[in-house]
């Protein structure tokens, strides 16, 4: 077993520098690498390019990095529910590359799996396809999209073992598996880190080969953006 365990978030972020490109898992505030984000704020790295479906909300998630102007460029599919993100984008303070959500996921998966590029129908005939190659297959038009390149990927899982194997819970899975192995170094933080051998090999969502560093996360807030409930009759 090749151990990926590091002592904590500081060791896990070793080598993160200004101007790097980072991938961050999560959908809204669900399944985001809270510990890694807090540490990015603490070490104050700047001029980052962040690939993440959203940029959190104004005061949590990647919103914390936006507030401190640590991000030069966001590559995301969705801005809604984050006013600071929208404000920085409209004012031109922040570069933003908006990418269809499925394309975003697949650009990660392509990087993970060694595909340089792929054809998708998403965005054909829109701004998103401008300057990109388009092509017809079986009577339908597709856009050529290239794999991402990133220095670090930060993901959050429910359980993990020392070998770097990951298991997610519910919809907190989202982009996290696609980003594992899609950057030079993948850092996984987990709610529960167990010794190798405790997880069922049949139930691993991400094999450890895609993860370079894993650590036991702390103090998860797991904020809910839209608390919707029904009342008991």
């Amino acid at each position: 077993m090749i151990s990926k365990k590091v002592t904590g978030v500081e060791a896990a972020l070793k080598g993160v520098k200004d101007k790097m490109t980072l991938m961050l898992g999560g959908f809204g505030l669900c399944g985001i690498p809270e510990n890694a984000i807090a540490e990015l704020v603490r070490i104050g790295v700047k001029e980052l390019t962040c690939i993440s479906n959203n940029a959190g909300v104004d005061d949590f998630g990647l919103g914390l990095l936006l507030q401190k102007h640590q991000i030069k460029k966001m590559i995301s599919s969705y801005v809604g529910e984050n006013e600071e993100f929208e404000r920085q984008m409209l004012s031109g303070e922040l570069e933003v590359e908006l990418t269809p959500q499925g394309t975003l996921a697949e650009k990660c998966r392509a990087a993970q799996a060694g595909f340089p590029a792929f054809y998708t129908p998403a965005g054909y005939g829109t701004e998103v396809a401008e300057g990109k190659e388009t092509r017809e297959f079986n009577g339908k038009m597709y856009v050529l999209e290239e794999a991402f390149k990133a220095d670090f990927a930060f993901v959050k899982a429910w359980k993990g073992d020392e070998a770097g194997n990951l298991i997610f819970k519910g919809t907190a899975r989202n982009f996290n598996p696609c980003m594992c192995g899609a950057a030079d170094i993948t850092v996984a933080e987990v709610e529960e880190l167990v010794p190798a051998g405790e997880l069922d090999p049949n139930q691993i969502h991400v094999p450890g080969i895609f993860v370079q560093r894993i650590f036991q996360g702390k103090n998860y807030e797991k904020r809910i953006e839209q608390r919707t409930v029904r009342t008991r009759k």
């Binding site: 959908f27 809204g28 505030l29 669900c30 399944g31 479906n53 995301s76 599919s77 969705y78 801005v79 809604g80 529910e81 929208e86 984008m89 409209l90 933003v96 908006l98 269809p100 959500q101 499925g102 394309t103 975003l104 996921a105 697949e106 990660c108 998966r109 998708t120 129908p121 998403a122 965005g123 054909y124 005939g125 829109t126 701004e127 998103v128 429910w158 997610f168 819970k169 519910g170 919809t171 907190a172 899975r173 989202n174 982009f175 996290n176 598996p177 696609c178 969502h205 797991k222 904020r223 809910i224 953006e225 839209q226 608390r227 919707t228 409930v229 029904r230 009342t231 008991r232």
Partner: protein, 217 residues
């Protein structure tokens, strides 16, 4: 004239037994409340869940179980969770039978715009571009006119597009319309709404054939 729930209720009638359905944020989310009990339908949310159920009971919310609108949800027996690449594989691979989403503008050729007002507002396309580029059965749920009273059913979209020639049906507060080669074909009027009112509220070509029935909601 219909309210938002009325639009959702009418669209619910388009949901057939055995359908996998993706519901967008806003009015489309309400559709789930009105689907008949005697048919089997599964709701997919692009953030990675199939088999969504109702909202959780108070106190049972789980931050790890949400829909694409970031609302806390529950799952039904037979549900599954999966990653975003797999989720869009379902969408792109045409495994989802029906997509219902909102729009800022729809053009008579089926173009749709719903993610950006240049210089003013950028919501982002989220999963909408993937959905409209792949789905074969796309229903738009929206008000017939915007807050300024201008028609949202146009000859040509003025806002940046989300997808081209993809919308098949539109249900608004005023009418049910189908996108055809000749323009918006008026299929049904909302209760108490006249063909004249719909004509006035529609900037794009409106095709009226014979008697247009009032919808039953």
């Amino acid at each position: 004239m219909l309210d938002k729930n009325g639009i959702a209720k009418r669209i619910a009638k388009e949901v057939k037994d055995g359908y996998y359905v993706n519901l967008g944020i806003g009015i489309p989310t309400l559709v789930a409340n009105f689907v008949r009990d005697d048919i089997n339908v599964e709701f997919q949310s692009e953030n990675g869940v199939l088999g969504m159920g109702p909202f959780p009971f108070e106190g049972e919310e789980d931050a790890d179980i949400i829909n694409a609108g970031k609302q806390t949800i529950t799952t039904l027996p037979g549900a599954s969770f999966f990653d975003s690449a797999t989720s869009f594989g379902m969408i792109r691979g045409k495994h989802v039978d029906l997509t219902i989403l909102g729009a800022m503008e729809v053009a008579e050729n089926g173009d749709i715009a719903n993610w950006k007002i240049p210089g003013k507002m950028v919501k982002g396309m989220g999963g909408a571009m993937d959905l409209v580029a792949s789905a074969e059965n796309i229903i738009v749920a929206m008000m017939h006119t915007n807050r300024a009273g201008q028609s949202k059913l146009l000859k040509k979209c003025t806002l940046p597009l989300t997808g081209v020639g993809c919308v098949t049906k539109i249900v608004t507060n005023l009418a049910v319309l189908e996108v055809t080669d000749r323009g918006f074909l008026l299929k049904e009027r909302a209760p108490g709404v006249s063909v004249e009112q719909i004509k006035e509220a529609t900037e794009g070509t409106l095709v009226v054939e014979g008697e247009v029935p009032e919808m039953s909601v």
